[in-house]
Symmetry: D2
Subunit: 305 residues, 4 copies
């Protein structure tokens, strides 16, 4: 009975468009110093983490988002041992990273301890014990500051943060200066992976600017994408590096690497998915080609701006 859904969550894409969800239960809701957090049970997607009104992932299709964010980058590296995760509060990026048998250390830095604590408590299907893995180290800090100050290097850096909104915690993690800091901390064969906003034709500016900014910092940038139903709009990602290019892997290469290096079964990612994810429709490729603006600390980019 739809009348049961007297609480609704609308993820707005503009003042005139949104994705509407009946809320079956509010599991947690709080304003922290960094953002507003909601953990909701949504009718069509099960549990979902919502930060500042944006779905981060849902129990039904988080496997698409997290496999996509982690595996193309991890497999592009010959043997990733040390991995740095920026954000990733649900623990599911960590979970996917730890499935790689080569990983010896996974350092996850999230600015908001409350997010991590609540996901740990309320979203066990996401993290599946990853927080307790002996290879895991968790810190609640400004990841940018941490990377600036450390002298450690990493094989893979995965940036799993919410979109750059004006008062949100993330916008200084989408700039040329930040990507330069990451580059300094990558080992020679190191790879960076990140989610990069929608690739819907109504709002390609953010995605195109992130790609252009990455190209300013890294010699290899491989834009990629996925359709994640709970996000409604098609979603963009990017893999960048000093040398490794995941697009050189054939479907068979990927299937073999998955079998050799990853524990357990994947649901979204395999050789064919790998191939499709780096193929962008023509209108998106054209848009990327025409991009000139890059994002800098003193010229940041905001969605909704």
């Amino acid at each position: 009975m739809p009348l049961k859904n007297y609480r609704w969550f609308i993820e707005y894409f503009s003042a005139e468009e949104g994705h509407l969800h009946g809320i079956r239960q509010v599991l947690f809701s709080k304003e922290t110093p960094f953002q507003s957090i909601d953990i909701l049970d949504l009718g069509s997607y099960g549990k979902a983490l919502v930060l500042d009104g944006r779905i981060q992932s849902s129990s039904r299709d988080e496997f698409i988002y997290h496999e996509m964010l982690v595996h193309p980058a991890m497999l592009a590296h010959p043997e990733p041992r040390r991995v740095f995760i920026v954000g990733g509060g649900e623990g599911a990026t960590l979970r996917e990273v730890l499935r790689h048998r080569s990983v010896q250390r996974a350092l996850m830095v999230d600015i908001d301890e409350e997010v991590v604590a609540r996901c740990r408590e309320l979203l066990p299907e996401w993290h599946q014990g990853a927080f307790e893995d002996p290879r895991t180290e968790l810190r609640y800090l400004d990841a940018r500051k941490y990377l600036e100050e450390t002298s450690e290097t990493f094989d893979v850096v995965i940036i799993d943060i919410s979109e750059p909104i004006e008062e949100g915690p993330a916008y200084l993690l989408f700039t040329r200066e930040f990507y330069e800091i990451v580059r300094e901390r990558l080992s020679p064969a190191g790879v960076i992976s990140l989610q990069a906003g929608t690739v819907s034709l109504n709002d390609l500016e953010c995605y195109a600017a992130i790609q252009k900014t990455l190209e300013d910092v890294f010699p290899m940038v491989a834009p990629c994408w996925a359709s994640i139903p709970s996000f409604a709009l098609p979603w963009g990602f990017s893999v960048a590096s000093k040398q490794q290019d995941p697009r050189h892997l054939t479907p068979d290469d990927v299937d073999k690497l998955v079998a050799d290096r990853i524990a357990g079964d994947l649901r979204y990612y395999d050789g064919i998915t790998h191939q499709l994810t780096f193929l962008l429709p023509k209108h998106i490729r054209m848009r990327l080609l025409s991009q000139t603006r890059i994002i800098e600390d003193n010229h940041p980019l905001f969605t909704w701006s």
Copy 2:
């Protein structure tokens, strides 16, 4: 000012999920004997044709839908001259068909004259004069009955109809019996193309059943898909034939065929898009493999059932 949007259109995907649009203007709204028609000016997608509460296409991204529905099938045929369009009220499928220089006759059969008349009047950017092309023939009839009674054959049959809902006009155009009728009317190298509902992981039954049903009738079935932002959920299509397989075309083949055979520029479709469109993510491929049910006249399939 968002308060201006006092009228909202919600395309429901379930009783608990929908795509929400501010309506800037209602251009036309009427119940016909076949369906309810709305032509709306939506905030984020411009004008849109809505039948029985489902977006058929929007001015902002109809090019994705129509290029996707038409060109893979047309290029799979060595020289399509006679094309049959089932539905396609906006006239944009017709427009894309007529761009193929080989086409000599395009017969479009839509059951609802009111839809065609209003699209012709209010959506000129869609049809761009296609209804006036001398190669066009328009009829307002039950397309299934027409195909059963004619002895004409066609090189390409494009099925551009709304989803099978219980009281809607379309559900008998999604059955084994209907596809058998189409097969009878296809020339030996003939190809059929159709939209086949969402491929969102929440509702793959419809798509999988259509593929399975096509496989029962045609030796070659090539499932494909696209992300069309105004549809929100990822969308499935299919190309089937007695022999031609579009997947044998390389990106370069496609780019050459597009240049040779199609007038004007395409925005969505080219060699790379062709490649990606036939690559389905792993979880969708797995779902198709496990499908057993096929759709028949006396066991029809309804979305929302």
Copy 3:
């Protein structure tokens, strides 16, 4: 089935509050030079006239609004013969006025001919032939300008217009200067009646300012109110005059006057309703007492301002 309601009308009371209605049918929708007009079939209230996103009246409960706007003022006058209606596009204010046997002339001036034409065509239950009554005269003009230029006087002036919004046609019909023009055109026993916006405790400024402005112009001002479900919020009205005070009528007086002077049966208004309508809850009375601001041409009042 609620999914049938894919079109919704929200009458916003603020950016955070609204009255939500499923739209069964859009009967008419157009932007005129003066305002946006929608005639909608709403689930719970039947047909409704909506101007600039605000419900003017609905078939289910328009009797409350129109009996309330017309009869207290008409009965306060000893024998109303000449009535002037400002606005009143639905024709239902005219209908109620013409039920008074004493009326010899009803002059209705609405600025927007399109509103009147569409109500005449689509809302016959509202006007019930009032536009064809030989006592009726209809003009499509700026009512304020007309009253300034005429030398005719009227026994009752009824102001049946939408709320003062910034770009709407009505805001100069809520000022001291306008009420002074009306006063000049009233016969010595003349009475003015008007709707005056919500009396919800969240937004009493508009109502209080209108009452204060009327008190600046008329020696007798009787604020009154009604609950009209399709308006959701409780609604304010006012009756003012140079001398007649409707509050001096007892319930029995009113019942006798209704029987003697009005043709047909009333559904909302009688002696007891008359009594209650002039009784305001304590918190509203307190708010009126503390009001100081009056509305003037160069200090107009806007709802939503």
Copy 4:
């Protein structure tokens, strides 16, 4: 900025009508064995207690609801000492009862301890310490069962419960049998007061049936009403007794009683408000006159049924 309101509460009045509120904060949300509880911070009404999707009261206008529910009944009794409250989780009915200097004992019985505990914690402006008053006794029981088993009598019984919905805790507190139990527990001059659902013309059946049922049990039944903006629809109440009739009090009587018997200032209720509250519009009076059905344990009434 409305985009901030990504969470919305809709209080549905039917599948096609509702009152829409932006949620600024979710303060508490839980399913108890009895009902779903939400304590929300709503844009236009401040904090609100919502049970099973229905607003019980809001910080902005709870004074209307609670003064209306308590004072007409309390003043109808010559000297109320012992008061029984059924439900009333917010503690505001208790607060108003305790303002009466004559009260020596206020026994409040609510079935759901969780509601009371959360209101006590999160809604201090409502109860204002009433739970700590030495005259207060709180019990978490089935009130009907308690009244059946006790031999105590009360001067006033106030029924402050949510509407009778099919799976809710309240429907057996709206029947003839329950009112007979209450009558047995009333002192000779005893008075009962209750909220009785909407008096909107779309849904008068519930209100009319409650009045008719009360008339079957009590010699004096005085239906009354108020407009409470956060409820949107006009709301019905009733006062009944074996002998006392509040309608015999003049406005001056009421003002004097308020001054003599109630501590502190009232915001909604006084002599004039008392007068208006017992005056119902004509169409509601007509509907009450035509009512025949009464509510019994084995013929219960459900809203939404």
